[in-house]
């Protein structure tokens, strides 16, 4: 029995189990095939949840408001952008087998974030600071730049060479805040967690590649903070985000 045979007879299985004609073949295939086994357990779970839903009445909105208020008071949820009184219902993770479907929107979101960063022009200059004498050819100098740019140094800068004029200006504090956490964020952790589960042998490789891509994003962001007029750098930041999206997509293709 092949996977397509299993999919064909699944409705019959759910109507009352496979008949004697193919029961043993069905069982042995499902035991040997992770994909069909996962599909079967998903369908069983959905069926069981659906039965429970049918027997449940929707509680009144007041109940949700009280629960949400209580959770906020306890600091368990905090999302100021949500409409008031609209709580988030989080399903317990143990009730649902983890899947990698979320990687696709995350990859898309990375590209969108990159687009935003690239298209978001800094606001008019509000402060000046002394630019580094040399843009620096080492990664170490660029990696510290995020912290540097948040400082506003009011002292007048020395007369710079022409190429450094653009680097003499500081960006407003709000414009220099990176949109991506410098350390692996929650999505990255989840991503690595899924890779560990589904393809343990690839974990170290994906982790190294992810670190490298994140470092590229940070380096570029730091450079933009020092050189906000550099259009190529902004375009490069978009490319760095696309690289990260590519990494997610390659993983998504392999571990689903």
């Amino acid at each position: 029995m092949t996977c397509s045979d299993v999919q064909r007879v699944l409705p019959e299985v759910f109507d009352g189990g496979p008949n004697g004609g193919f029961a043993s073949e069905f069982d042995s295939h499902v035991r040997a095939c992770p994909a069909c086994s996962d599909l079967l357990s998903d369908l069983k779970m959905i069926t069981s949840e659906a039965r429970q839903l049918a027997a449940t009445d929707e509680p009144s909105p007041r109940v949700w408001l009280r629960i949400a208020a209580q959770l906020r008071a306890e600091g368990l949820i905090r999302d100021p952008e949500l409409a008031p009184g609209q709580p988030v219902l989080v399903r317990p993770s143990a009730r649902r087998r983890w899947s990698a479907w979320w990687l696709a929107p995350v990859a898309a979101a990375l590209v969108a974030a990159g687009s935003y960063v690239v298209s978001h022009k800094p606001a008019p200059q509000v402060a000046q600071r002394e630019a580094p004498a040399n843009p620096g050819n080492s990664a170490a100098s660029t990696k510290t730049a995020v912290a540097e740019t948040s400082e506003v140094i009011p002292a007048p800068a020395p007369v710079p060479p022409p190429q450094q004029v653009a680097r003499q200006f500081a960006t407003p504090t709000e414009a220099v805040q990176p949109l991506v956490e410098p350390e692996p964020n929650a999505e990255d952790q989840q991503f690595l967690s899924v890779v560990s589960t589904r393809a343990p042998s690839m974990r170290a490789t994906y982790e190294n590649q992810l670190k490298a891509v994140n470092a590229d994003i940070r380096e570029t962001q730091a450079y933009i903070n020092r050189n906000p007029e550099d259009a190529d750098a902004r375009e490069h930041l978009m490319d760095a985000y696309q690289q990260k999206a590519l990494l997610y997509q390659i993983a998504l293709d392999r571990i689903q």
Binding site: T2, M202, Y223, H236, Q242, R254
Partner: protein
């Protein structure tokens, strides 16, 4: 005493022989398993063919105009081939059973296809090879080495995580290559649009940039090296934010909003500048050299 010693030696020898026999037997068993299956399909013009395998090589070459012949070589019986034809579309995928690893799950595919077919190949380990075709090609693989040769009039899309990518004699199609850390080697690659990007991989181009094409090579820390003939006709713009930029080519100045910074960027035309070439890196070195 000597009898005891002799008995011990004999026992050790027997154990040694048994171990060697076991190793040999397992080697022979795995070598002996390599099984081959052939699948044949009849298709019309512009067929669409997809092959997806977790582990193993995929090689595609032109065959007859209406036949697709797939030869799959298995390393164990722990993997099945799911294959399906829907009209002009053929989908082939390796299907790993439980407990399969990279060695036992490997399936190598060799395909003979109509040259005008659209081809999608995917393998984590590769290598992926396509040659002498003129349909659209998409090749994807995390670690896969990718080789494309003698392809024309079709679009070529390649994505890898760290597998190196080589394209030779690819003409008149859109070429889009993206890798996280793989090297990209392009020789005689031309077309209306050629994009190549790699994070830490190196990009090497050897060719004349054709006529009327847009070329754009981008790396983060990898070097970009471009080798062109003296009669190349292209407008060049190169910029490395933190790396060095060099050219030994007599470029004519041109009007550009792009401001040059000595050692970090240059802009200029060669010949009639019929193609546009953008070379950009964050910290890699960029070199434009005359052949």
């Amino acid at each position: 005493m000597s009898g005891l010693l002799m008995a011990g030696l004999r026992q050790a020898r027997i154990g040694h022989t048994a171990a060697i026999t076991l190793v040999l037997a397992s080697c022979l068993a795995s070598a002996a398993f390599a099984a081959t299956k052939e699948y044949r399909y009849t298709v019309g013009p512009h067929a669409n063919i997809s092959v997806d395998t977790q582990y193993g090589a995929i090689s595609v070459k032109p065959g007859s105009d209406n036949q697709v012949v797939v030869t799959a070589t298995f390393q164990s019986d722990n993997v099945e081939v799911d294959q399906q034809q829907s009209g002009n579309r053929i989908e082939i995928a390796s299907h790993l059973l439980r407990g399969t690893d990279q060695q036992t799950g490997q399936v190598d595919y060799e395909l003979l296809i109509p040259p005008d077919a659209t081809v999608n190949l995917r393998s984590s380990t590769g290598p992926l090879t396509a040659e002498r075709l003129h349909g659209d090609l998409t090749l994807e693989g995390a670690e896969a080495v990718v080789n494309v040769r003698n392809v024309e009039n079709g679009h070529v899309h390649v994505r890898t995580m760290r597998g190196p990518i080589t394209l030779i004699d690819v003409r008149n199609g859109h070429v889009e290559i993206a890798s996280i850390s793989g090297d990209v080697h392009l020789k005689s690659v031309t077309g209306p649009l050629v994009l190549a990007s790699s994070g830490s991989g190196r990009i090497f181009y050897d060719g004349d940039f054709g006529s009327g094409g847009d070329f754009r090579f981008v790396t983060h820390s990898g070097d970009i090296e471009v080798l062109v003939p003296a009669d190349v006709s292209a407008g060049f713009r190169a910029h490395s934010m933190l790396g060095r930029v060099q050219h030994d080519f007599p470029l004519k100045p041109r009007h550009s909003q792009f401001s040059e910074e000595v050692g970090r960027s240059f802009v200029g035309n060669a010949g009639q500048a019929s193609s546009e070439v953008v070379l950009r890196s964050f910290s890699g070195r960029i070199r434009l050299k005359q052949r």
